[in-house]
């Protein structure tokens, strides 16, 4: 009888303690992220915040939100990324957008057809990988809408669920585990505009 009375009280107390601890962790993370963001916002460069829980990526400058992308689906592998500013070291894609080289004097020549020599949003890849510091890799792709896309996505899913865990096991044994984040956008243009926004050596934070 006594046990029946004590047990709910004990469980309630345990849950309250656990919730308080979670709250504190959440506040600590928030605090760390704001501190890191303040450091980033001190200079004029753009930076990004990838919010895993909120499923968003935000491009900012001086704390001002310039652009936001909603993530359709997000998946994680490996250890947590550090709560610190990470630099995008490389953008890797199958087809790299090429800048057009202007030939001096060419513009002066008469031309019957007008062709725009420019690198535009439509030229950006929609499927690519962002390689960040601290062995953090972010896979970006749009959700498949046609057969070609579904086949491509099948390859990606196979890699995500088979190839990457095995790779991670190997790296774990070598004491160099990776942090992997897989992001799918609702459409191609969002993935392309994120590629555009991720300028060379841009820094960012991953909120988890």
């Amino acid at each position: 009888m006594t046990m029946r009375r004590v047990l709910p009280v004990f469980l309630a107390a345990a849950l309250a303690v656990s919730a308080a601890a979670q709250d504190k962790i959440s506040v600590l993370k928030d605090s760390r992220l704001v501190k890191e963001e303040l450091a980033l916002a001190k200079n004029a460069a753009l930076y990004f915040v990838l919010d895993i829980k909120g499923k968003t990526i935000v491009l900012k400058a001086k704390g001002v939100v310039l652009k936001e992308w909603k993530i359709g689906k997000i998946r994680l592998w490996g250890g947590p990324p550090p709560l610190a500013a990470l630099t995008v070291l490389k953008k890797s894609s199958l087809v790299v957008p090429q800048r057009i080289k202007i030939m001096p004097g060419e513009a002066e020549q008469e031309s019957s057809t007008f062709e725009l020599d420019a690198l535009e949003l439509k030229d950006m890849p929609a499927t690519y990988t962002l390689i960040l510091e601290s062995r953090t890799v972010v896979y970006i792709r749009p959700r498949a809408k046609n057969i070609g896309g579904r086949i491509g996505n099948f390859g990606h899913i196979l890699n995500w669920y088979v190839g990457l865990p095995l790779k991670n096991l190997w790296l774990y044994l070598k004491k160099k585990p990776l942090t992997m984040i897989d992001i799918a956008f609702a459409n191609e243009s969002e993935a392309q505009s994120l590629y555009w926004a991720m300028a060379d050596k841009i820094k960012g934070l991953i909120a988890r």
């Binding site: 600590l28 829980k53 057009i100 420019a118 865990p165 096991l169």
Partner: protein
């Protein structure tokens, strides 16, 4: 028959091995990924009380918010070729513009190279000009296949930049254009071209010192 059994055994061993390996791989990767939200902090930080942490956070967030613009701000999306004139976070005007083409020009006679990107980051309106003249830089002549003149007066061109120009440093301007049909496309050498009516509104509204955010 015997060979068949050996193949079956070998196949089972390989399959079992792969499943085992996969299980270990998941065992290594999954709990870590699940623990992303509860990863521990340094003892010094954890020892702080909740109320103290809340107060610290609030102060930090205020500090961050204070870094943003007060009054007017110009936001330029170089991918979408859009300009947004804002006041206290409220949209006053949206304009279709033209930003940098991203093309490359190399000086055939030297070591110089230009990349025609619109610079990204935070800037501010340094000065405003009415009926501006364009002082053509070296690249403008080289692009035309000409030799840059030594005389400064030979570089001045009127009418190219439209009725107004807002300079934001390093020779970059928000200015007008003769090629209005190309608004919305990435065609410039780094400047931001704006249509006549939008440019007039921006010129008259945004004072010198207005923050410009280009992304």
């Amino acid at each position: 028959m015997k060979t068949g059994k050996i193949w079956l055994l070998a196949g089972s061993l390989v399959a079992g091995g792969l499943i085992g390996l996969g299980t270990i791989a998941y065992y290594v990767s999954l709990p870590k990924a699940l623990g992303w939200r509860t990863a521990a902090f340094e003892a010094a930080e954890e020892s702080k009380s909740q109320s103290r942490l809340d107060a610290e956070n609030s102060a930090l967030k205020k500090k961050l918010a204070a870094m943003g613009p007060r009054g007017y701000a110009i936001l330029i999306d170089s991918a979408e070729n859009k300009l947004y004139l804002m006041k206290e976070g409220r949209l006053l005007r949206e304009a279709v513009v033209s930003c940098g083409s991203g093309s490359i020009l190399e000086d055939p006679g030297g070591q110089r190279k230009w990349i025609f990107d619109t610079p990204r980051g935070e800037f501010f309106v340094r000065y405003k000009l009415k009926d501006p003249d364009w002082v053509k830089p070296d690249w403008a002549f080289i692009e035309e296949g000409k030799v840059p003149p030594k005389n400064q007066a030979d570089r001045v061109e009127s009418g190219t930049l439209g009725d107004y120009a807002l300079g934001f440093g390093d020779g970059y301007f928000i200015h007008g254009t003769l090629y209005t049909r190309l608004l919305g496309r990435n065609v410039t050498h780094g400047c931001v071209r704006v249509g006549d009516k939008d440019l007039e509104f921006i010129y008259q509204t945004a004072p010198v010192g207005t923050k410009i955010y280009i992304y």
